[in-house]
Symmetry: C2
Subunit: 159 residues, 2 copies
Amino acid sequence: MDIIHPVGRLVEWSRGEKSEWCSLERALDVLANRSTFLVLREAFYGARRFDAFTRGTGLTEASVAKRVRELVAAGLLTRQDYQEPGERTRQEYVLTESGRALFPAFVALQRWGDEFREDRPAVVELVHAGCGAPVDAVVRCTHAHDVTIDQVEARLRTP
Amino acid sequence: MDIIHPVGRLVEWSRGEKSEWCSLERALDVLANRSTFLVLREAFYGARRFDAFTRGTGLTEASVAKRVRELVAAGLLTRQDYQEPGERTRQEYVLTESGRALFPAFVALQRWGDEFREDRPAVVELVHAGCGAPVDAVVRCTHAHDVTIDQVEARLRTP
DNA sequence: GCGCTGGCTATAGAATAGCGCAGTCAGAGG
DNA sequence: CCTCTGACTGCGCTATTCTATAGCCAGCGC
């Protein structure tokens, strides 16, 4: 296993093959557009119904339909039947484990927007229901150390 | 200050105004495309020079030029002069504090790609230089509690 | 003063994203 | 049966993204 430090050297090896092995690119295949993030935001805020996604995001129905279809195909949402009393059965879209696993990314982006894109102060704040303290996304290793960007090494697993 | 729980109710209030106060949308104004994330990835991997960005991302020079211009304008990168011995002065692009603050988001997306988009196993792994353990992005409150998606409340700050 | 290298810009084209608007479709209530 | 609501689909349009190819410019070394 190679150790790359400073991580800058990684760029020397990438040339063409990076898209095959970079997990970020695989993530971006599903996520790299504005409306996908907005639909996921609504899902994190508890939205399940088509109508809630369109009203919550301000996107057109056509855009939401496309995103939702993609997200179901990619396994971030599942389609489920539901029926309200006196109504016919309809479908709703529920986050899968994969979708829920994106929550740290959502928090990270939201908090970054709070702090570094502050044309006006943040109006919504995410807090820990248990203690009321605001939440943030942090980078941590499996030994529970907080890790700054300078303390990260990239290792190439040569197969 | 209103407490919203379940957070789903948030969608009821949003109608049109959400883009004004949602920090995620402000973040997406800069970030919502594939090439921006790729350029930032290279910056996190230590790239500073135009050439390193193009070779590392596989994007065309035109795309990189546009992204880099945007990222400088948005304050995530700064342009600095540098001069290698026997070379003329050139410019390089260095992450600002704002740019570095996106690192948790980068890690979160990268790790999510590892785990949930695994057409083939992850080839690059980010580890803590101090102890060698792999890193991940987690959501935590300022009282140092780990917070799951179910334990999060959204509070509206009414101004 | 010529070539080379790094760092761009210009142009043209394909694909995708997103909008507004209009229409469809299923089924419950009247 | 007719209407209403939620959940879509289709069309026409524009803006943005990204690619490919080509060329420009500065200045160091020869």
